[in-house]
Amino acid sequence: MRIVSLFGALMALTLITPAVSAADNTDIELLRTAIEDLRADYDARIAELERRLEVAEQNAAQASYAAQSPAPAQAQSSGQAAFNPAIGVVFQGTLWGSDGPGTDSEGFAVGETELIMNANVDDKFAAYLTAALAFEDGESELEIEEAWVETTALPAGFGARFGRVASAFGYLNAKHSHQWDFADLPLPYQAFFDGRYVDNGVRLTWLAPTDVYMELGGEILQGEGDPSGLAASTLFANVGGDVGSGGSWLAGGSYLERDNMASLTGAHFVWKWSRDGNWKDRNFVFQTEYFDYGEAGVDGGWYAQAVYQPFERWRFGARADGLQTDADDPRRYSVMFDWSNSEFSRLRMQFTQDRTGAEDRNEWGLQYIHSIGAHGAHEF
């Protein structure tokens, strides 16, 4: 169409030009501008028509799907339908430093690289594997962090999980390091579990058929240092609900008994808020846990933390954690901020004042957490 219009305009020019050869220059100029205007006008109109045609064609394509016959007999399901397990890898590392009397040091530590795989086994079971690849003391290590099978077909709100599981004791224990809001675990986890409590065994949970969330469960676990026995067990209960359109809470208690060790009792409370429940924009999380340990020396431990996201991508947090011992009450205070380009990448800066030793120490860390591949939904 555009070619036709150009051709027309050129024809007009060639036809008109000889006829006005006698006329003076101003007339020619006038005519020329008139024709230029005409041509510009036509070009614009033709462009507009072409655009409309394109839209109309798009609409025709859209209309054809709308007119299709309804309700195919079977809907294809998305997600983990493929036979291959969902595979994800989480990369983590920290650049850190500390200063204090006699402890000036700094370094770069590539943290655990988590390899996560999961899929439905069949119609009644699902399986999950997390392996941690670490580089320690000059050697690469592969550690099976979690490897469990879960039932999906038990009736009446029951669920079971068996294999190597992260215990449901406490709140933070079940969370992977990439889900933590701070680069390290709070002191009670470090003191009582030397990290997270992961063990071999079986878990049973039951969810009450109520509008208020109520979960009860227990675990029988191998216990540390006793490969032949079932030397540890837990009991736990969680309740939770919503407050208004933007707030939600989770509270729970748990109890852990291990052979040759005092029992540990835990209590936790988590509060999350976002305006109208629109999490993406602005949100706030408060969480706290308390541990009571009935052994002489260390009586218990606690932490409380708050993380606020004022706008997309940026989060700011503060945490206090401590232990209760006979001698003194070691404590730490940490602040952090992090930036997430997307839900798959996060850079974090953390400062910690460590008052656990004889003299105070200051620590700082710059952490990265990046994840590729399939990434399952996170629990509350």
Partner: protein, 300 residues
């Protein structure tokens, strides 16, 4: 007299106070559709509201409790709920609503989705390989899903098949009339050009014959960047678009900024039931959308 007989007849009926089925809808439009097709036989619950971005929802305890007792889960699917639904399903210990069972349906699997891609690369942002999941804003899609939902309700609750079919027919009668009304009202919108915050409106724009000329998000799912916005200001400096559209849960800042500099009107459209005061059910949802679009175009 007639009224008295009716009243007496009603008294003889057993009290059907509690609903037969509990429907857990991921988004308000599916809860509204379940109400239309299920009537008093279903009790519907929506996990999200129109003021929440359904991509980003916390797997809250209250939602797990609701899912525990659900008989049917209906969600948009196409990975819209990938960040939270599986965590809910895993915790809810409810074998009747797992993917693959009759108690689970993804609405988008019944319609032809646009923008499906095999080029799955996260550098391109929050993409949905199975296509755009925001299918509810084309009423023709709603027709298809309504039929599928009626069939599914009948399958899990066969005793009430007749009611579900009758409700469906009644709904579709009203729906078809409404579609004709909306299409007549929206005729003037054909060929208009829209800038949208996120690709939430492709089905609506396709239906109404409006062209999507740009998105405020440079990369889908990531917040609009200053560089991209200023590039858009240049691109649309002399107003080569008719409207800027955002959903209620997308912040107003970016579209207001662009609107100020280009003179193109910026509006909020309800993406689902409850998105605006006017959008109280599926019918008023589209009434409100058309009204707001026309309002903005008349201003232009």
């Amino acid at each position: 007299m007639k009224r008295l007989i009716t009243a007496l007849l009603l008294c003889t009926l057993p009290f059907a106070v509690h609903a037969e089925l509990r429907v857990f809808a991921c988004e308000p439009e599916w809860a509204a559709l379940a109400d239309e097709i299920g009537g008093d036989l279903v009790e519907s619950f929506s996990a999200t509201t129109a003021l929440q971005d359904p991509h980003y929802i916390q797997a809250r305890p209250s939602l797990i409790a609701k899912l525990r007792r659900a008989d049917l889960v209906i969600c948009s699917g196409a990975q819209l709920e990938i960040g939270w639904l599986s965590a809910l399903l895993q915790k809810a210990n409810n074998r009747n609503v797992l993917p693959g069972t009759d108690g689970y349906m993804e609405a988008s699997s019944f319609v032809l989705r646009v923008d499906a891609t095999t080029e799955v690369d996260r550098s391109k942002g929050d993409i949905h390989p199975q296509g755009n999941p925001h299918i509810q804003v084309d009423p023709h899609n709603m027709t298809v899903v309504a039929r599928a939902l009626s069939a599914r309700l009948s399958k899990i609750n066969p005793e009430n098949t007749e009611s579900y079919s009758a409700n469906l027919e009644q709904f579709l009668d009203r729906w078809e009339v409404s579609i004709a009304r909306w299409e007549a009202a929206a005729q003037g919108l054909q060929g208009k050009r829209a800038i949208t915050h996120h690709k939430s409106w492709v089905y609506l724009l396709g239906w109404l014959g409006i062209e999507e000329v740009a998105n405020l998000e440079a990369v889908p799912g990531l917040p609009p960047t200053a560089a991209h916005l200023s590039q858009l200001t240049k691109q649309f400096a002399s107003g080569e678009a008719d409207v800027i559209i955002r959903a209620p849960y997308q912040h107003a800042k970016s579209s207001a900024w662009l609107s100020e500099r280009t003179g193109i009107p910026a509006i909020v459209l309800p993406l689902t039931v409850g998105g605006t005061d006017g959008a109280t059910d599926l019918f008023t949802l589209f009434d409100d959308i058309i009204m707001r679009l026309k309002g903005a175009m008349d201003d232009a």
